[in-house]
């Protein structure tokens, strides 16, 4: 990969370290594993070492770049373009990567978390026949995610954008033998495609107005090309946001994420928690200048975010599948991030994304370890229950003593998610709640507070039903439940440590008794400088008082108390109650059933969108194509000419006299003409 001599980008002459290789390594991993999958599916050595190894190397390069950025203090982005991809008329776009603080942070999250998950997968997928193919897809996913995060222009970002959609399609439907799983993969891809439609139209508008699609040119030209709050920028950003909604599973395009749980658990951890779903937030952060120029859209982003947070949290309350609870929790937390970036607190949104990656991946992997243990136990006993039965919370309970390490790490993730003090969630989530409140949006602020309580509720219920209380696992099976192998435990522990430490990167100044630390915000400050200036000019400062009075510190304590109280109460109540295993447990009734049935959204979509579209297609085909065009015009004209031919042939009766009469009539006419004329 030869790097073209790059026009001297501004900045302290800081040179990124092998940027091309960050992206190239996972691609090589994909090719090697892909070849191994096709040629020698049996051998596990290559994927085991190549898979995680390639990602580890990439992580080290990103780390090196991070260190060199911190060292050189470079603020300006550096663009490396490798070859001109499309050049037509006055439109020109190169296959180019951009290294700046935001992309390095995102790359760090992507490569870091995925490295741990690759290691974890070695254990989790060890017995699976499609082992090599799994790692090939996972490496391809990391390649596309890095392309998305490191892109220097919108089309290359779109390559990553659709690429990750493709990989999630392949990975959700990884066990393609079961039709449900293949269908879930397809659903994910089509819903993502609806989002991509919005993204594309947004791109076209951007090009029509700014004449280029490179980040540097677009963001430089944006303030001149668009007037603040004008219809053009609002519509452009609305379409871009439609793309984000599709990719980051916000209302109304969130339906694919819960079904994505059909994929293997590490996939859910990587794609549907830490990396892919955050792409939407990354896009809004990257195009912060555009969203800053469109107040209406930013408001909508915050609104949709808050609404999704509440909506998803409500559903999570009544879910019994161990992975689906966390899936809805992810949607909810993404809602938080969108709320943050929607009100202009871009750094806070990214910080929550950063911490969320750790504890959400942790929760998924812990769930994976539990499922892994249970599978082996059931298998040892000789029974093979369906996947839903194994993953049903009502069939678990009291696994604390059987799986000590898993339960401790799971609880660490749960506390972080709930936003309890020492853990990361407390710092990042509260910051978002506070910045929404400081922006004066009282309703959204209240909704987010309520959701914080609901989050504490469902995560406590989740952890309690799994680990504490009286066990509902049949006696003989319980004996065989063992801890996951070390190759799976190490990532768990590291992530647990991460979710403990990550929060301290950025302690909000307003918090009492704590030293104000803003290393994360300062790191990202230059990236959002331009956007925040626009926010400053038009929307004014963040106030220092919550909509209903009280400063940041006060409300931090209130939230902490609220979350901690709810958590502890639910924990006690769930561990004490005698719950029935899934087979005999009654379906929840009343409002709880509405939540259990996920507000019947899937059924509504199916009835009002999927089925009519299919029926319309059928009508189009049968009635219009076959019937109208083919039947009436094409065959119809053929039949008409044949009928005309038949009618004319009736004239020839075969009786000579009729012909004589015809001749005479002719003679008469001629005579009349001759005499008349």
């Amino acid at each position: 990969m030869v790097a073209l001599p790059e026009p001297a980008a501004a900045g302290a002459g800081w040179e990124p370290f092998l940027p091309g290789w960050i992206v190239l390594l996972p691609l090589l991993g994909f090719l090697v594993n892909g070849a191994a999958a096709l040629l020698a599916p049996g051998r596990k050595a290559i994927p085991t070492w190549v898979g995680p190894g390639v990602i580890g190397l990439s992580f080290l390069i990103v780390l090196a770049n991070l260190v060199s950025i911190l060292g050189a203090g470079a603020a300006e982005p550096v663009v490396r373009s490798y070859w001109t991809w499309i050049a037509a008329g006055d439109f020109e776009v190169a296959a180019a990567l951009q290294i700046d603080r935001l992309s390095i942070v995102m790359a760090l999250v992507v490569t870091g978390v995925s490295f741990l998950i690759h290691v974890y997968s070695v254990g989790y997928m060890g017995a699976d026949p499609g082992y090599a193919r799994y790692f090939a897809y996972l490496n391809l996913f990391v390649f596309f995610m890095l392309v998305l995060v490191l892109a220097a222009n919108f089309p290359v970002l779109f390559v990553g954008w659709e690429g990750v959609g493709l990989c999630s399609y392949l990975l959700i439907g990884f066990w393609f033998q079961e039709p449900a799983k293949a269908a879930a993969g397809l659903k994910a891809f089509i819903v993502n495609r609806i989002g991509d439609f919005g993204f594309l139209v947004g791109l076209f508008m951007l090009f029509a107005y700014t004449g280029s699609l490179n980040f540097q040119q677009v963001f430089a030209a944006a303030p001149q090309a668009f007037t603040y709050g004008s219809a053009a920028i609002t519509i452009t950003t609305l379409f871009l946001f439609l793309g984000c909604v599709g990719k980051s599973a916000q209302i109304p395009l969130y339906v694919w994420l819960p079904d994505a749980m059909h994929g293997p658990t590490p996939v859910s951890a990587l794609i549907h928690a830490a990396t892919m779903v955050t792409a939407g937030v990354y896009l809004v952060a990257r195009a912060s200048v555009l969203f800053a120029l469109a107040p209406f859209t930013s408001g909508l982003v915050a609104g949709v975010g808050a609404l999704t947070a509440l909506f998803a949290a409500s559903i999570a309350l009544q879910q019994f599948d161990i992975k689906r609870v966390i899936a809805y929790s992810t949607i909810s937390q993404l809602g938080y991030m969108f709320a943050g970036v929607g009100v202009g607190a871009y750094a806070a949104g990214i910080f929550h994304l950063f911490t969320h990656a750790f504890f959400k991946a942790l929760l998924f992997l812990a769930a994976g370890a539990v499922i892994h243990g249970l599978h082996h136990a059931w298998a040892r006993v000789g029974k093979h229950p369906t996947e839903d039965e194994v993953q049903d919370l009502r069939n678990m309970g009291g696994l604390r003593d059987a799986l000590p390490w898993t339960s401790w790490t799971a609880w660490a993730g749960a506390l972080a998610l709930a936003g309890i003090f020492p853990f990361a969630g407390f710092f990042s989530k509260d910051e978002i709640i506070w910045s929404v409140g400081a922006r004066g949006l009282t309703i959204l602020w209240a909704v987010l507070l309520l959701t914080a309580a609901l989050t504490a509720f469902y995560v406590a219920r989740w952890a309690a039903m799994t680990f504490s209380g009286e066990t509902r696992v049949p006696g003989d099976v319980r004996r065989h439940v063992h801890e996951a192998p070390t190759v799976m435990m190490v990532p768990l522990i590291l992530l647990a440590a991460g979710s403990l430490v990550a929060g301290w990167l950025n302690v909000a100044p307003g918090l009492p008794f704590l030293p104000g630390v803003s290393r994360f915000h300062d790191f990202l400050a230059p990236v959002f400088e331009q956007a925040e200036a626009i926010w400053l000019a038009h929307a004014g400062e963040f106030e220092h008082v919550a909509p209903v009075g009280g400063d940041e510190g006060l409300w931090a304590i209130v939230t902490l108390a609220l979350a901690g109280g709810v958590l502890y109460a639910v924990f006690l109540r769930v561990s004490a109650r005698r719950l029935l295993p899934a087979a005999r447990a009654p379906e929840p009734s009343g409002f709880a059933r509405l939540l259990y049935r996920k507000w019947y959204v899937d059924e509504l979509y199916d009835r009002f969108i999927v089925r009519p579209v299919l029926r319309a297609s059928d009508v189009f085909w049968r009635v219009v194509d076959q019937g109208l065009i083919d039947g009436v015009f094409v065959n119809g004209s053929g039949a008409a000419s044949r009928a005309a031919g038949w009618a004319l042939s009736r004239l020839q009766t075969g009786d000579v006299s009729t012909y004589v009469v015809a001749v005479l009539v002719g003679v008469l006419i001629l005579l009349a003409a001759a005499l008349g004329g």
Partner: protein, 97 residues
């Protein structure tokens, strides 16, 4: 004399035509055709007195053609009769598409 003979020829011709149309017997149709031919001959002869001898020469040729036509026609009728055992022209309906 000219107009009367031409009128007579016209009447004769019409009777011949009516005969061809009305009868189904092939031989009778043939005879009617002969009548029509003679009507035409009469017209020729009537006019030849004024226009010149060519009229009569033409009649001579008409007669030759009539003879040949009668011979071949009757031969055809015999051949068909052998096939259909009748001369009713409604049986000969092959002449159609």
């Amino acid at each position: 004399m000219l107009t009367e003979s031409l009128l007579l020829s016209a009447f004769l011709f019409t009777i011949g035509v009516a005969g061809v149309l009305l009868r189904r017997n092939a031989i009778i149709i043939f005879m009617c055709i002969e009548i029509m031919l003679n009507a035409v001959n009469l017209a020729f002869i009537a006019l030849s007195r004024y226009v010149g001898i060519e009229g009569q020469i033409f009649v001579f040729f008409v007669m030759v053609v009539a003879a040949a036509e009668a011979a071949v026609g009757l031969a055809i009728i015999i051949a068909i009769f052998r096939h259909y055992e009748s001369v009713d022209i409604q049986n000969f309906n092959l002449l159609r598409w």
